[in-house]
Amino acid sequence: MLRDARLVARKDLRIELVSKVIAGQIVPFGLIVLLLFGLAVSPDLAVLGRDGRSVLAQVAPGLFWVAVVLSALLAVGRSFAVEAQDGNLDALKMTGLDPAGVFLGKAAAVAVELFILELILGIGAFILYGTPIASWALLAATIVLTTAGITAAGTVYAALAAGLRVRDTLVPLLLLPVLTPVLLGASIATEAALFGPPSDGWSWVLLLGAFALLYVGVGIVAFGSIMEE
């Protein structure tokens, strides 16, 4: 399973390195979303409020994660668009690859891409919204587990819509409501990581971890019956 996962992940990352769709299109998209949020909320709110933080900085965690989720939609879509070309989905079915391995591999490749995207968007949010950072450990844990949750759930739902003509519109409808707990947990934990106290965030990190675990499990168990028919 892990061998297959490594094989698929390496293949997907190699494709990304060559085609640069994530780097060249999806990362800029995320940055545009961040900018637009700032504009829509009004940049004037960047002035400091009573408690020493600007309104923009206060809403920054939520806006950041919404931008990440929107970009992630595109990233998982891309991950399956690659398989849709030239009948590769059929070819994958004809190999001896373990479906669970294919799931883990594709999810891992998307996760790596999302980490890079989050790094860039994070720097963007830091500059645009002017946020402090209180706890690096909490921030790192939040980012890792949130990314795992988003990619695992995203890969499951993108697989459900794989090979359909309406794929691009169906995945957001199916996936976004599901990501509610992730968005909540990530926003609150990030807020705690930025403004403190970190103790408020750790319990949400647990939720993020549980969600990621749940969807990794769902993917491993169900990927076969989703993809094979």
Partner: protein
């Protein structure tokens, strides 16, 4: 298909077998719809119960002390919640059964239940926010139940969207079954996370000390029974509609098959280069 057909007969209308040979005009008319003796009894019972429930809920029972007359909304709100959850439960069960033995009976049942469930969740949300306006002063509160219920609605709207797609039947049923199972997990996770979220943000709870007297409780009870009867009636009919659609698909396929087999006669055999044996078989 054959297996599922027989099970659907057994499960849906066990009591209606007596009317099999009746060829009276009345039974002929009733055979042209989705109703049967079972659903007729169920439907009349549901309507009667609903009538009694309306009389008690809107007339005989009095206003509640804190909520005043808006308590009457709860007599239809809570039963709708029951029906919706039961329906999604049926969808879950049907999905599991489909994955286990490819039963198209359960596949159709899961679909039917999800549609009824969505209808009743809409009722839950409408009555919930109509109740919220006089109680909280606003139609929409970021109340955990309201928030997670609306997410649940969206999830099952997505499920129905997947079901509506024009896909090879087996693929669609398979994927819908996986989604039907996963959706229940989502409902649970979303529900608890939203609840936790609100409990952290503000300590204020929206529960109100209710003091329901006997008549109120009775109206409430009637509402639950009536809605369950009506929900079951809708479910059976929706299932039969889906079942007839699948039957029509089968007939269409049979026609297509005949047409397909006749294709050969329509085309001249120009590429028979190797050998042709004349004569009809």
């Amino acid at each position: 298909m054959g297996r599922a057909q027989s099970s659907s007969e057994a499960d849906v209308s066990p009591s209606a077998s007596a009317s099999a040979d009746a060829a009276t005009p009345a039974s002929r008319a009733q055979r042209l719809s989705t109703s049967s003796r079972l659903t007729r009894v169920l439907g009349i019972a549901g309507l009667l119960l609903l009538g009694i429930m309306l009389a008690f809920g809107l007339w005989f029972s009095g206003p509640e002390i804190a909520m005043r007359d808006s308590v009457r909304l709860l007599y239809i709100h809570v039963p709708s919640v029951f029906v919706a959850y039961l329906c999604f439960g049926v969808t879950f069960l049907g999905s599991v059964q489909y994955l286990r033995n490819q039963s198209s009976f359960w596949d159709l049942m899961a679909h039917a239940a999800a549609e009824i469930g969505v209808l009743f969740v809409v009722f839950v949300l409408v009555t919930g926010s109509l109740w919220g306006k006089p109680t909280w002063g606003t139609y929409w509160q970021w109340d955990p139940r309201l928030t997670s219920t609306s997410m649940m609605l969206l999830m099952y709207v997505g499920y129905l969207a997947l079901r509506r797609l024009d896909l090879p039947g087996e693929v669609r049923s398979q994927r819908a079954a996986v989604l039907g199972i996963v959706s229940i997990l989502n409902v649970i996770v979303v529900h608890y996370s939203v609840k936790w979220w609100r409990s952290l943000h503000q300590s204020q709870t929206f529960g109100i000390d209710t003091q329901m007297d006997g008549l109120m409780l009775f109206s409430f009870f009637l509402g639950v029974i009536a809605f369950l009867a009506i929900g079951a009636w809708l479910l059976v009919h929706r299932f039969r509609v889906g079942w007839m659609e699948s039957q029509l698909d089968e007939i269409r396929l049979e026609h297509a098959l005949v047409e397909r087999r006749n294709e050969g006669r329509a085309y001249p055999r120009e590429d028979d280069l190797l050998q042709v044996r004349p004569g009809e078989s």
